[in-house]
C-alpha cells in the first residue's frame, strides 16, 4: 500500500477486507515446540487436561456458591411477593427498595463468575428482568439508566444516543431513557403475561451493582431516589456487590438515601476456603495426572496470598504451568492416565526413549542397579520400555498412596498447638514436596506433641484418618485402613479395661515420697535440684500405662506410614514426566516486572538484542548502542532537572557520526530529540514549566 501523492498529509489505510488465514492454536503449539515429534499428541493431551480444568472449576464454583446464591434467590422471590399485602403496617411503613448487600471479599477477579451464575439463576427461576451493571460503564446517571433499561428490557429499545448514527429515521427518534418508560413497559408486559400465565405475575426487576465501591456516589444517590418514586408500580430489587465492608454503604449514601433501602447482608465463602477446595480438587488427587513441583506451587500460592487473593488467577497459573509443561517437555506425552500412558509408551519412538535415558531421575535410578542391567537398559530399547512401564506404574501407585497419607498426617497434626506442620494442608504439602518430611525439625516436634495427646484427641484424630481412608481403593491403603481400625478399636477397648480395673495407684507414692522427704529436711538449693532430677528420672523410667503404650504404637505406625509413602517426588524415577518444575517461567509469566525489564533493556541492551557489538562490561554502554540507551545512561547522571542542551552536547560526544566527535549536526540533533521523546513516552522524564529549556526526571534517584 502506498500513495503516489507528493503532497504532505494524513492518509488513512483501511485494513484490507481479505482475511488472512489464521493459524489455529494447534499450529502455534506445534510450530513453537522445540521438538516437533509428538507435538500433536501432546497438544491433544494438554487440551484435554485444560478443558477438564475449566469444566471442573465451573462446577466447583457453582457448588461453592450454592448456599449464598440460594439465599439470594429466596430473598428476591420473597421480595416479589411482599409487595401486594394490604394490612395496616404495610400501608403505613415507607416502602423501601429491598436490597441485598453481597459481601464478596477483595478478590475482585473472581466476582464475575459469581455474578454470572447469579444472573443466570435469577433469569431461570425468578425473573427475566435482570440488569447487571459495572461502575466503569455507568459514569453518569444518564448512562446508568440507559444500561438498566437496555439490560432489563433485553435490548428491545434502540436507545437514543447523540454519538451514534444520526441518519435513523425521524419517527423513532428521541426515545428518552427514563424510569417511567421502564415502568410503562413493565406494565404492558405484565398485562400481556397475565393472560398467559398467572403463577408469578410480579417478577421483580433486579438491578445488580457489581462493584459498588467504584460507583460515583452522586449518581447512585440520584438513581436510588428516582427508583424510590416508582417502587409502588415497579417491584425493584437491588443487589450490591461489595468487596470491602458493609459500612461502605453508609459512607457512600447519606441517611436520606439509605432510608429508602431495606438492606440485608449476605456473606460469601472466603477466598482462602475456595482456594483449599480448588487445591483439594486439582492438586491433592491422583486423578489429575499433571503435577506441580514444590517451587511452582510456592510461586502460585505466594501470588495468591501476597498479591491478589484471586482463585481464578490461581487456576490460570495452573493452566499456564500445564501449557508450559506440555510445550517444553517432549516426554509429557506420558503425562496422562495410567492406561493411556502405558499404551503410548509401547509406541514411543527411539528418540524419546533416548530422552528417557537422559532424565536425571532415571539416571540416578540406574545407578542403583547392577552393571549388567545398566548396560542392558542403556542399549536395549525393548528392555527400557519394559523398565519404564514398571516405573510409570509405580509412579501412579506412589500418587495413589501419597495423597491419602498426606491427608491423614494433616488430620492428625492440624489440631496440634501452634501448628508445627501448618494449619492448612497446602502448607504441609509444600513441606513434603520440598524434601523428606521426616527429616524436618517441625515434623519431629509434631511427632513429640502427638505423643502427648490425650486419649480423646488421639481417638478423634484417628477417626478422621479412618474417614479419609475409607473411600480409598488401592490395596496398600485398604491394608493401612485395616491396621488403623484395629488401633482405634484397641483404644476404645482401653476404655472398658480401665473402667473394670481402676489405674494402679502405685506410681504416685513413688513420686510423692521424695517430696515428702524434702519437706522434712532442711532444704537447700542443691538438695532441691538433686531431688527434682531424681524425680524426673523416676518418672521417665516409670512403667508406661497401657494407653501410653498404645499411643506410642500409633504414632510409630503413622511415622512409618509417612516414611514409606511421603518421600519427595524427586526421588521417584521418571517424575519429570508428570512434574512441572520451572518456577522462574511461571513467575515471569504471572508476575511480570515491567520496570525491571525496561531498565534492563535500557542499561544493558545486549540482554535483549544479543548483538556482540553491544556486549560491555559492568554498567557501561557501548557507543554503538541504540540512541535511547545512550540518552538514558546520560540522564542517570543528572539531577532532578536536566538541561537539554547539556544533554545534547554530552550525547554528541558519545555518538559516532562520520568522523567528527562532539559536533552538533542536524542528524545527531534529530536522533537525540527522538530518543528524548521516546524516554518521555516511557515515563522517565517530562517537560517542566520551572525552567524553559529543562526537562524533569520522573524516576527516583533524582536528587
Amino acid at each position: 500500500m502506498s500513495t503516489s501523492s507528493v503532497s504532505k498529509g494524513c492518509f488513512v489505510f483501511k485494513p484490507s477486507t481479505k482475511k488472512r488465514k489464521i493459524a489455529g492454536t494447534e499450529d502455534h503449539f506445534t510450530r513453537g515446540c522445540e521438538e516437533k515429534d509428538g507435538s500433536a499428541l501432546r497438544y491433544k493431551l494438554c487440551k484435554q487436561l485444560w478443558d477438564q480444568i475449566i469444566t471442573d472449576t465451573e462446577s466447583l464454583q457453582d457448588h461453592l456458591n450454592k448456599n449464598i446464591l440460594d439465599s439470594l434467590l429466596d430473598f428476591t422471590r420473597k421480595c416479589s411477593f411482599t409487595h401486594d399485602n394490604s394490612d395496616w403496617t404495610a400501608q403505613m411503613r415507607a416502602s423501601e427498595i429491598p436490597t441485598a448487600a453481597l459481601m464478596l471479599g477483595v478478590n475482585v477477579p473472581d466476582h464475575d463468575m459469581t455474578f454470572q451464575s447469579l444472573s443466570e439463576l435469577l433469569r431461570r427461576s425468578v425473573t427475566p428482568y435482570v440488569a447487571s451493571l459495572q461502575a466503569k460503564e455507568c459514569g453518569s446517571l444518564k448512562l446508568l439508566l440507559k444500561r438498566v433499561l437496555e439490560r432489563a428490557m433485553g435490548d428491545v429499545v434502540a436507545v437514543d444516543d447523540e454519538d451514534e448514527e444520526e441518519d435513523t429515521p425521524q419517527i423513532n427518534k428521541s426515545v428518552q431513557c427514563s424510569l417511567s418508560m421502564l415502568c410503562e413497559w413493565y406494565k404492558s408486559k405484565k398485562s400481556k403475561d397475565a393472560s398467559t400465565e398467572i403463577n408469578n405475575s410480579h417478577p421483580p426487576v433486579v438491578v445488580i451493582f457489581k462493584d459498588l465501591e467504584a460507583f460515583n456516589p452522586k449518581v447512585l444517590q440520584d438513581f436510588i431516589q428516582i427508583c424510590s418514586r416508582y417502587i409502588y408500580q415497579l417491584p425493584l430489587v437491588f443487589v450490591f456487590g461489595i468487596a470491602t465492608s458493609p459500612s461502605t454503604i453508609q459512607n457512600m449514601l447519606p441517611h436520606s438515601v439509605s432510608s429508602l433501602l431495606c438492606i440485608e447482608l449476605f456473606h460469601s465463602l472466603s477466598c482462602t476456603q475456595q482456594l483449599s477446595t480448588v487445591i483439594d480438587k486439582f492438586i491433592l488427587t491422583h486423578k489429575f495426572p499433571f503435577k506441580l513441583s514444590g517451587k511452582v506451587m510456592q510461586v502460585l500460592i505466594s501470588i495468591f496470598l501476597y498479591h491478589d487473593f484471586s482463585v481464578r488467577n490461581f487456576i490460570k497459573g495452573v493452566q499456564v504451568a500445564l501449557l508450559e509443561h506440555f510445550y517444553a517437555q517432549p516426554l509429557s506425552v506420558l503425562c496422562c492416565e495410567k492406561k493411556v500412558a502405558l499404551d503410548i509408551l509401547a509406541h514411543l519412538p527411539p528418540k524419546d526413549l533416548q530422552r528417557i535415558r537422559q532424565l536425571p531421575s532415571f539416571k540416578s535410578h540406574i545407578e542403583k542397579l547392577n552393571k549388567q542391567d545398566q548396560v542392558e537398559l542403556m542399549t536395549n530399547d525393548a528392555s527400557l520400555k519394559e523398565e519404564s512401564k514398571k516405573l510409570i506404574q509405580s509412579l501412579h501407585k506412589y500418587h495413589k498412596n501419597y495423597f491419602p497419607v498426606l491427608k491423614c498426617l494433616h488430620a492428625l497434626t492440624s489440631t496440634l498447638p501452634r501448628y508445627p506442620l501448618g494449619k492448612q494442608i497446602r502448607e504441609l504439602y509444600l513441606i513434603c514436596l520440598e524434601n523428606s518430611v521426616w527429616e524436618n525439625e517441625d515434623y519431629l516436634t509434631a511427632m513429640k506433641l502427638l505423643k502427648m495427646l490425650s486419649k480423646d484427641e488421639l481417638a478423634a484424630g484417628m477417626q478422621r484418618c479412618v474417614d479419609i481412608l475409607e473411600p480409598e481403593k488401592s490395596k496398600t491403603m485398604r491394608n493401612v485402613l485395616g491396621q488403623l481400625k484395629e488401633l482405634v478399636s484397641k483404644i476404645k477397648g482401653l476404655d472398658l479395661c480401665t473402667e473394670m480395673s481402676p489405674p494402679a495407684q502405685d506410681a504416685e507414692p513413688i513420686l510423692t515420697s521424695p517430696l515428702k522427704n524434702l519437706q522434712k529436711k532442711k532444704t537447700d538449693l542443691f538438695q532441691l535440684q538433686k531431688t527434682l532430677l531424681e524425680m524426673n528420672e523416676s518418672r521417665r523410667a516409670k512403667k508406661l500405662s497401657p494407653f501410653e503404650l498404645l499411643r506410642n504404637e500409633t504414632v510409630d505406625f503413622f511415622d512409618s506410614l509417612v516414611k514409606t509413602h511421603l518421600s519427595p517426588p524427586e526421588s521417584q524415577p521418571l517424575n519429570e514426566v508428570l512434574y512441572y518444575c520451572s518456577s522462574a517461567t511461571v513467575r515471569r509469566h504471572l508476575n511480570a516486572a515491567p520496570r525491571t525489564s525496561i531498565q534492563a533493556a535500557l542499561s544493558n541492551p545486549y540482554f535483549y538484542l544479543q548483538n556482540e557489538n553491544l556486549r560491555t562490561e559492568d554498567g557501561t554502554v557501548s557507543n554503538s548502542a541504540p540512541d535511547i540507551c545512550i540518552t538514558y545512561k546520560l540522564h542517570l547522571e543528572c539531577g532532578r532537572l536536566i538541561n537539554l542542551f547539556d544533554w545534547l552536547e554530552a550525547y554528541c560526544t558519545v555518538v559516532p557520526e562520520a568522523e567528527d566527535f562532539g559536533k552538533v549536526d542536524e542528524v545527531r540533533h534529530a536522533r537525540f530529540i527522538q530518543a528524548v521523546s521516546e524516554l518521555e513516552f516511557l515515563g522517565f522524564i517530562k517537560s517542566t514549566k520551572q525552567k524553559t529549556d529543562h526537562v524533569a526526571r520522573l524516576t527516583w534517584g533524582g536528587c
Binding site: T89, M92, A94, Q176, S245, P246, T248, A592
Partner: protein, 445 residues
C-alpha cells in the same frame, strides 16, 4: 378544627375536604389559595416554596391541585436528566402525547416555548396552568438559562401559567449572578411536636382505639423527637414498632388505659430501634423478624457497621500501611523513621504554626507514588520486586476506595494519592501483620 379555608371561586365542600386532608397546614394552604386566586385569574408567574424534608410541600400542592381539579403537572427534577424530559412531561400533560412528539431531538428552550405557544393557541384554557417542580435544587446544575426562563415562563409563552418550585434550600442559593425575575417566596416551617402528634395520631390502627394509638405516638415522639422530625420516617418507625407495643395487650397482661406499664414495656425497645433500624444498621424487614423471634436471640442480627473487618492480600496490607504513614507523617521525618542510621531528630521546640496541631486532626495529606513505594519497601520485611502486580494492587486499592487519587489521571505525571482509611482500620490491619504502626507515626512520638 380551628379555621376553614374560604375562597371565592371554589366549591365550599371541596375546600372543606382539603382542610381535613391538610392538618396543620391550613395557613399555608390558605395563603397559596389566595395567591392562586380564582381559577381564571392570572396568577403570579413563579412561586418558590421552601421547607425541610417532609414538611408537606408536595403534599399540600398535590391535594390542592387534585381536589380543585386544576390543570397542572408535577415534575421531579431528579428524574429529568435532560431538559428534553422536562419539556416532554410538561407538554404531554398539558396538550397530550402528540404535542410532546413535536419536540425535536435535543430540544432547546426556544423549541419548547415555540411548541407551547403553538399548542396553547390551538387549545386555550382560561384556567391557570400550574407547573410544579419538585426538588428544584437540581435545577441549579442544569443549563444556566433554564431557571431564569422558567421563572418568567408566563411572559415567554403568553399564557396563564404559573411555575411553582419546591425546594429544601433557600432561594438565596439559587439566585443566578446575572440576576433574574424574583419569585414569590413562601416558607413551610417544620411541624412542631404537637402538630406531629396530631398528624401521626390520624392514621390509627383499625383494631385499636384512637386514644390508645395516640398514647403510643406520644411515647414514640418522646424517644425520637430529639433525633428525627421527619414525618415520613416517624410514620415508618411507628408502623414498625406498633406490634411490639400491643404485645402485652394481646397477652392480656395490661389494659389499654395502663399507659405507664405500656411505656415501661416499649421504651427500651424504641431506644434500641433508634440505634439500629433508624440508622438502617438493620433493615426494617430484619427488625420485624427480630420482633417475631422475641427476645431470645435479638443479638443474632448484627448491624452493617459491625462488620468492619476487611481481608486484604499481604502486600496490599503493607501498601495501605505505607500509604497511611505517607499521608499522616511529614515528609521530612521519613529519614528518621525509615533510615537505619538516622541520628535523632528531636521535635523542635518552636514548631511552625500548622505543625502544632496533630496531623490526625488535619486529615490525610496527598503524597506522591514514589514516596509511598519507598516507605513500602522499607516497611515490608522481605525483599519485594517491583512487579506489575504490586502496581495493580495500588490501583485496586483505589477502586476499593481505600486510597484516593488526588491529582489528575495522567499516570506519567507522578500521580498523587491520599489514604482514605481510619486510624482504627489501619491499626487492625497492621495488627494482622505484626507491625506496630503507632511507633512509626509522628503524632504519637
Amino acid at each position: 378544627m380551628t379555621e376553614t379555608l374560604r375562597h371565592p371561586g371554589y366549591d365550599e365542600e371541596k375546600l372543606q375536604r382539603i382542610a381535613e386532608l391538610l392538618p396543620c397546614r391550613e395557613v399555608q394552604a390558605g395563603l397559596l389559595l389566595s395567591l392562586m386566586g380564582q381559577p381564571e385569574h392570572l396568577c403570579y408567574p413563579s412561586v418558590f416554596i421552601y421547607g425541610h424534608r417532609a414538611s408537606g410541600k408536595s403534599h399540600v400542592l398535590n391535594i390542592l391541585m387534585e381536589q380543585l381539579e386544576l390543570p397542572h403537572v408535577m415534575v421531579s427534577c431528579v428524574e429529568c436528566l435532560s431538559v428534553a424530559l422536562l419539556f416532554e412531561q410538561v407538554l404531554q400533560s398539558f396538550f397530550g402525547a402528540d404535542a410532546a412528539s413535536l419536540l425535536p431531538r435535543g430540544p432547546s428552550l426556544s423549541d419548547f416555548v415555540r411548541i407551547y405557544r403553538q399548542q396553547c393557541s390551538e387549545s386555550p384554557t382560561y384556567q391557570t396552568r400550574y407547573i410544579i417542580m419538585e426538588k428544584a435544587e437540581m435545577l441549579r446544575d442544569t443549563e444556566a438559562n433554564l431557571l431564569p426562563a422558567l421563572l418568567r415562563l408566563q411572559e415567554l409563552v403568553e399564557d396563564n401559567v404559573t411555575v411553582i418550585f419546591l425546594s429544601e434550600i433557600v432561594w438565596d442559593k439559587f439566585r443566578p449572578n446575572t440576576g433574574c425575575f424574583e419569585p414569590l417566596l413562601l416558607h413551610f416551617p417544620d411541624y412542631s411536636k404537637g402538630e406531629l402528634q396530631q398528624i401521626l395520631s390520624k392514621d390509627k390502627h383499625p383494631s385499636y382505639s384512637a386514644e390508645f394509638y395516640s398514647s403510643y405516638v406520644n411515647i414514640l415522639l418522646g424517644v425520637f423527637y430529639s433525633v428525627c422530625r421527619d414525618l415520613k420516617e416517624l410514620r415508618h418507625l411507628a408502623a414498625l414498632n406498633f406490634s411490639k407495643f400491643c404485645e402485652p395487650l394481646e397477652e392480656g397482661k395490661v389494659k389499654e388505659s395502663d399507659t405507664h406499664k405500656l411505656w415501661r414495656h416499649i421504651e427500651p425497645h424504641l431506644k434500641k430501634a433508634m440505634q439500629t433500624v433508624y440508622l438502617r444498621e438493620v433493615s426494617s424487614h430484619q427488625w420485624e423478624q427480630m420482633q417475631e423471634m422475641d427476645n431470645k436471640d435479638v443479638g443474632a442480627v448484627r448491624g452493617l457497621s459491625a462488620h468492619t473487618h476487611v481481608e486484604l492480600p499481604y502486600y496490599s496490607k503493607f501498601l495501605l500501611i505505607a500509604a497511611y504513614l505517607a499521608s499522616y507523617n511529614p515528609a521530612r521525618t521519613d529519614k528518621r523513621f525509615f533510615l537505619k542510621h538516622h541520628g535523632k531528630i528531636k521535635k523542635p521546640n518552636i514548631l511552625k504554626k500548622n505543625e502544632k496541631t496533630s496531623n490526625h486532626l488535619l486529615g490525610p495529606k496527598p503524597f506522591p507514588l514514589d514516596r509511598m513505594l519507598a516507605i513500602f519497601y522499607s516497611v515490608v520485611d522481605s525483599r519485594v520486586a517491583p512487579t506489575a502486580s504490586i502496581f495493580s494492587q495500588i490501583s485496586s486499592l483505589v477502586t476499593l476506595q481505600l486510597l484516593n487519587q488526588v491529582s489528575h489521571d495522567d499516570q506519567l505525571d507522578a500521580p498523587k494519592y491520599k489514604c482514605a482509611v481510619s486510624m482504627d482500620f489501619i491499626c487492625a490491619i497492621s495488627r494482622t501483620v505484626n507491625f506496630d504502626i503507632v511507633k512509626y507515626l509522628y503524632d504519637f512520638l
